[in-house]
């Protein structure tokens, strides 16, 4: 592996910033990729549209027909993909850094499974739909996170215990979710099962708003605490010595990450592996130490928009849930990760 990327100081009066040019370039490139694929997704569908018409609609100069297709039918889905991808990438980066474990992402430690439980309870027991399902997902997500934290808490939450507890709780909730679907009415069970795959099909501005608010509020908080997160990766003792308010930082960061995962899951269902794979993939490109929350968010957005494009084009005439694509890609990634870990461990 090559040495870490260089740092540049940018100073203006009393303001000084420590920048990793390579990380910035990678972040910008990923954002461009995500936006370009998003544009392609806006042009394609049952009625292919030229990119120029799409752009005209986006800036408010299109004709009524194109406006309807672009702004009403396709834009919510495309925005949702970008926002959910970014939320999962950022949430995953925070979690992996807090747990100091590449498997410590929300989908592995049971948080998104808890969200699914909340959503399934609403769908199959309370008979709710739409925003109620999203609310159920958020409640399930937060409740599961608090539960895991309390279970793992012994003289301060130890990262490894958190991951192990998470995996255990995840398995239990997984079983409970299967039971809920098993006992549901057939049509409801079908809908619940599809929801569980994770999809951006047929989502509306409501879902965009849910995840949009989560990203707008929580991503800045996570970024603000990014330097504390970087210090926490040196261990609690070192962090205390250097003046990090350890418990407060950890709780704020964990809540922000849980909120991001909850918002994403409430809007699109438990989409697999983006939160797991986006942060390390981004880190490989940036070669910067630290949590790299922003590059991970951009990577998540790029991965999910690309995944959604693939979901629409893999099977001709069939628009499969994007969760199937990410799960397949994730399987490949996880295999690679395990082989690679073995190799580097010797």
């Amino acid at each position: 592996m090559k040495a870490g990327s260089k740092v540049r100081a940018v100073r203006y009066g009393p303001v000084s910033l420590r920048l990793h040019p390579r990380a910035l370039a990678v972040g910008a490139a990923l954002l461009l990729v995500a936006l370009a694929v998003a544009l392609v997704n806006l042009t394609s569908g049952d009625f292919p549209l030229p990119a120029s018409d799409v752009l005209r609609s986006l800036v408010g100069q299109g004709d009524a027909g194109t406006d309807f297709i672009v702004l009403e039918l396709r834009l919510p889905r495309v925005l949702l993909t970008l926002l959910v991808g970014a939320a999962l990438g950022a949430g995953g980066a925070v979690f992996q850094s807090l747990t100091r474990n590449p498997l410590g992402s929300p989908d592995f430690v049971g948080i998104t499974v808890g969200a699914a439980t909340g959503a399934l309870v609403v769908m199959l027991i309370l008979g709710g739909g739409g925003v109620q399902v999203a609310t159920g997902a958020v409640i399930g997500c937060v409740a599961t996170s608090v539960g895991i934290y309390l279970l793992a808490f012994r003289r301060g939450a130890q990262p490894f215990r958190l991951v192990l507890m998470g995996v255990g709780v995840s398995a239990l909730l997984e079983a409970f979710n299967s039971y809920l679907i098993y006992r549901g009415r057939l049509d409801e069970a079908m809908a619940a099962q599809v929801w569980q795959i994770g999809s951006v099909n047929g989502r509306t501005w409501t879902e965009v708003t849910i995840v949009g608010v989560a990203v707008a509020v929580l991503l800045p908080i996570a970024l603000y605490y990014g330097r504390q997160l970087t210090m926490l990766s040196l261990g609690d003792e070192m962090a205390v010595l250097h003046g990090v308010p350890v418990e407060r930082s950890r709780i704020v960061l964990a809540l922000a990450a849980v909120g991001l995962a909850a918002g994403a899951t409430a809007a699109a269902g438990p989409i697999a592996f983006v939160a797991l794979a986006a942060p390390p993939l981004a880190a490989r490109l940036t070669r910067s130490p630290g949590a790299g929350i922003l590059p991970a968010a951009m990577m998540g957005a790029a991965l999910l928009t690309a995944g959604d494009w693939a979901a629409q084009h893999t099977l001709p005439g069939d628009d499969i849930p994007v969760g199937i694509i990410t799960a397949a890609l994730g399987g490949v990634y996880l295999t690679w990760l395990l082989i690679h870990e073995r190799r580097t461990r010797g």
Binding site: M1, A3, G4, S16, R18, L234, V240, L241, P289
Partner: protein
């Protein structure tokens, strides 16, 4: 006294390591803490640096309970090199040393000229410049030890606690680190170091703290406290105390195997 601990009870869960412990660190001293393994030296240092919260009693820094400070404020006055820091992966030496500046930084003041100078100084003083681009987890124990020392130096605190700063180091590097500590001390900093080698301790310390079983048995200049009786009482090791021909400080010469057997 800037750093003072009164009536401390130090424990990990229910395992009490020390009780009714009172320690004052003389301002501007080079204090060396010695004592047998597991007697609580590291635990005391952790309490002084508020890494470990005492079960009772309090540590005072500059006249105020250390627990009442904002966390960064303490980190600007007092730094510490822990005995066995977690070695982070994927980070190069220069970046790690730069993290030592955290307490001096803010959101919009992330990398001031002072930060840059402090990191350069710390790396120069510890002889780690040549390692700047190396990954920390790929260094030898001794190289790593000097890097951690650089991290603590970059913090530029006037009080510096060092837990076994010379472990992992070969003889010449041990003396380099001790000389560095002596230089820092001469520049006016208060140094508190845990050392295992009693002769090093006597050579460099202006003041010794001798501990056993979580209690301080003696504190004072090496020439006054270092006696054969004390060493035997603390370390259960008969010895002779002579004068170091190089430095005129006390020098401990352990009894021969035959004499120890005869005494036993």
């Amino acid at each position: 006294m800037r750093l003072r601990a009164s009536d401390l009870t130090l424990a990990y869960d229910r395992r009490v390591v020390a009780s009714n412990l009172d320690v004052s660190i003389t301002d501007g001293s080079f204090t060396v803490i010695v004592g047998p393994n597991a007697c609580g030296k590291s635990t005391l240092l952790k309490a002084l640096a508020r890494v470990l919260t005492p079960q009772s009693g309090a540590v005072h820094l500059d006249g105020r309970a250390i627990s009442s400070y904002p966390s960064k404020e303490v980190a600007r006055r007092l730094g510490m090199l822990p005995q066995s820091p977690v070695v982070p992966g994927g980070i190069v030496v220069e970046e790690l040393v730069a993290r030592g500046r955290f307490a001096h930084q803010r959101l919009l003041r992330q990398w001031s000229p002072e930060d840059e100078a402090a990191v350069a100084d710390a790396m120069r003083l510890t002889g780690t410049e040549a390692l700047a681009d190396r990954f920390v987890d790929e260094l030898s124990g001794g190289q790593r030890q000097r890097v951690w020392l650089a991290v603590a130096l970059a913090q530029q605190t006037s009080i510096l606690l060092l837990d076994e700063p010379t472990t992992f180091l070969d003889l010449s590097h041990q003396f380099e680190v001790l000389d560095l500590c002596a230089d820092l001390h001469e520049q006016g900093r208060t140094i508190v170091a845990v050392l295992h080698d009693l002769n090093h301790a006597c050579r460099y310390a202006t003041e010794l703290i001798v501990m056993r079983d979580g209690a301080v048995l003696a504190q004072g200049p090496p020439a006054e406290v270092m006696t054969a009786e004390l060493v035997e009482r603390v370390f259960a090791m008969p010895c002779r105390v002579m004068t170091d021909p190089e430095t005129e400080t006390p020098m401990i010469v352990p009894a021969s195997r035959a004499r120890r057997r005869a005494l036993a």
